[in-house]
Amino acid sequence: MAKTRIVVLGGGTGGTMTANMLRRRFGEDEAEIHVVDRDDRHVYQPGLLFVPFGLSSLDEIVRPRRRQLRKGIRFHEREIDAVWIERDEVLLDDGTVLPYDVLIVATGSRLQPEETEGLTGAGWNERVFTFYSPEGADQLRAALDGFERGRLVVNLVDMPIKCPVAPLEFAFLADWYLRECGVRRRTELVYATPLDGAFTKPVASEQLGGLLAEKGIDLVTEFNAGEVDGDRGKLVGYDGRELDFDLLVTVPLHGGAAYVERSPELGDALGFVPTDKATLQTPAKPNVFALGDATDLPASKAGSVTHFEAEVLVENVARFLAGRDLEAGYDGHANCFVETGFHKALMIDFNYETEPLPGHFPTPVGLPLLRESRLNHLGKLAFQWIYWHALLPGRELPVIGPAMPTAGKRRTAVHTS
């Protein structure tokens, strides 16, 4: 019998984890596994948040993609030209054709600052920065270092974005950083969001909005950034509102990877891949699956989501290859540490149906949910080790499975005292 060919597009969190889990599951005599990525730099993306504050550096958070893949996985360092779904083939930019029996799309999302008028014009990387790219995060570090007075505006242009709590965390950490530097009184911090509150989900939004107020960070809601004027230091909303800034930290628009648009039937208008929210199979064709930031799912674009999805996806790829029914196993589970400064963090845990609630994770004795604590901050720091050594290699984590735990959650109102 011919060997099964599995092609994984993307060697980031989802692609690496999936390829490694599949390699453990199928012997080399059963399946060939290929991973394609345009470069050999695997970025631990949660670490980007800390780079502008000098709490982490690029050499700590970037490692070779190749080295995160198990033996017996073939890595192709090439740009993807297109996927031909009808013919079950991937075309690479050097003309190589990779035929597949199963395709897994894990190419994440792409920053599109050029889609906002003026954003990459005057002032880009001088007084307008994003920490969502390694280079941007590094340049912002130098800018923050010299920021002693004036107005810092944090703006997310529009959803969806990776790690929806990260811009809030940036604002919290900026407050802490400026206080430590002794210049907080001479600076103003503004958080401008297109949402109608600090966050998308009501209970967490109230709690996080309370934290912004406590820290003296102005919250501007329903602000849809239409234009950036870097020369004059103005962020202009589509409704005509203007926000003056001395330093703008933007989270640009996100879209899917460029090849998705060149691949007939694969993606939607923004380049994200329509995907079944429970099985992770795509409606494009039964042998095409997707996970992580690349999908159009109504879940956070976050590593925890990708991790929980990977377990369901690998099971379903195995079932598909065996001709069995797929498991509707993914419930939208997400779990995020939210860094709030001063060596503290809070944690949120939620899924498609249940918004983030207070309580403890994963059981009544565990990490506090929706409440600041040092334990959560230590958890966030420890997570980087777990990421490289347990998550990416595809080892099973004790206690934390894909389904959202409910044992430690309270459905009562949040006390913000």
Binding site: M159, T200, L270, P298
Partner: protein, 104 residues
């Protein structure tokens, strides 16, 4: 003040979005528009409203403002001129479909 009111038989939620898209009509759309600061629905308004409504009825989801800008043929800037403040929300309200959910 407009004298025409939305009939009581039409069920709306706390923010004025129809809870049952089947109760919608073009006359109702014009009334909702007037009450929300859009005195006249031009062809461009209708193009957007119909696009939103058709998309919701066929997929169960209303498009986001960005998808609307890319797929309806009306650029985002113009969408804000047609439906000041929140184009996706307002077009959904006028089109008689539920409030678009913010994604996360």
């Amino acid at each position: 003040m407009s004298t025409t009111m939305i009939p009581e038989s039409v069920q709306v939620d706390a923010e004025g979005f129809l809870t049952d898209p089947r109760q919608w009509s073009e006359d109702l759309a014009e009334q909702i528009a007037r009450e929300n600061g859009v005195p006249d629905l031009t062809e461009r308004h209708w193009l957007v409203v119909r696009f939103m409504r058709e998309r919701y009825l066929s997929t169960g989801n209303a498009p986001s403002i960005r998808a609307l800008g890319k797929e309806s043929g009306v650029p985002v800037k113009e969408l804000y001129q047609l439906f000041p403040k929140g184009p996706a929300k307002l077009a959904a309200k006028i089109g008689g479909i539920p409030k678009p959910k913010g994604c996360i």
